[in-house]
Symmetry: C2
Subunit: 159 residues, 2 copies
DNA sequence: CTGTATCCTTAAAGATACTG
DNA sequence: CAGTATCTTTAAGGATACAG
């Protein structure tokens, strides 16, 4: 990234944390079970300097938690925090979109299965409180308590 | 991005399309209703050269569709395609994560409301075929038909 | 194994000016 | 309004060597 986004916007804020070349791949690895520096490096191909940077940053952001596993503090493990695990919906949404629209049916690199039944996990679906599916046009975006003037103006101009 | 990712991976493939500084902000604008070059520019602050590049690329990728709206092909509108609209779950997942973990309750810049009832949209939730909620550890990642040898090996080593 | 310190190269971001 | 052409700057990515 050249600069950070300065807009008061949930997407922009998320991009400031997750929106670089490698971060989501590191999060993916963590979901796959990686915990060690070397695992992250081998499984993604990221340079060591970058990996060091990213892990430090992501720990600072509260997405990873670093834990000693060696005798003299020479071995470490990185675990997702609750904030990190909460990225599951983001990960799954990206995987499902990519499987369906980039690779296409029958060419998915990774399938998502319900561990207890072995059956595919259905597409993520936005639902209302009654459990009814919501379509793209059923969702309204309204300025929240933390909205800036610009955001408020932007959202009120929608329709 | 310096390079494209070369791994056979749904996340990596998605990042090759969406993973730059601006793209998801442009998609956000489209969901908010923007269709014109100038709207995208003003509402995001992106440079015109970049915007031109991105719109061209995203049209090539089948996420936006460009349509003439002027008399002599001098005015255009950009609409999300089905592939683009399918990014809704990605967008919503990012917004909900950011609202909850970056801004925090009561400080959300944007609220998501069910248009027909005006009530907040519940968190996206992964469910199995019976509609039961799935937790982070209930999902298994298995190599699919399009998996590379490396992916297959990686996934089989998980547990 | 888990990093840090340097250095170098590339390309992404963006300002400015111009066009139909 | 909707771009394109150029040029400059900056920073991100990554190779290499070294260290506890």
């Amino acid at each position: 990234m050249a600069n950070r986004h300065t807009q008061t916007c949930a997407i922009a804020a998320a991009l400031n944390i997750l929106g670089d070349h490698w971060t989501l791949l590191l999060v993916r690895e963590a979901f796959y079970g990686a915990t060690r520096f070397g695992e992250f490096q081998r499984n993604t191909g990221i340079a060591k300097t970058l990996l060091s940077d990213r892990l430090f940053f992501l720990e600072k952001e509260g997405i990873f938690r670093k834990e000693d596993v060696g005798e003299r503090g020479t071995r470490y493990a990185y675990y997702l925090t609750e904030k990190g695990r909460a990225l599951e919906t983001v990960m799954i949404a990206l995987m499902q979109w990519s499987n369906e629209y980039v690779y296409g049916r029958g060419k998915e690199p990774v399938q998502l299965l319900d561990r207890s039944t072995g059956k595919p996990v259905p597409q993520l679906q936005l639902r209302n409180r009654k459990g009814e599916a919501l379509g793209a046009m059923d969702v309204a975006f309204r300025a929240g308590p933390g909205a800036s003037k610009a955001t408020r103006r932007r959202l009120e101009s929608i329709e």
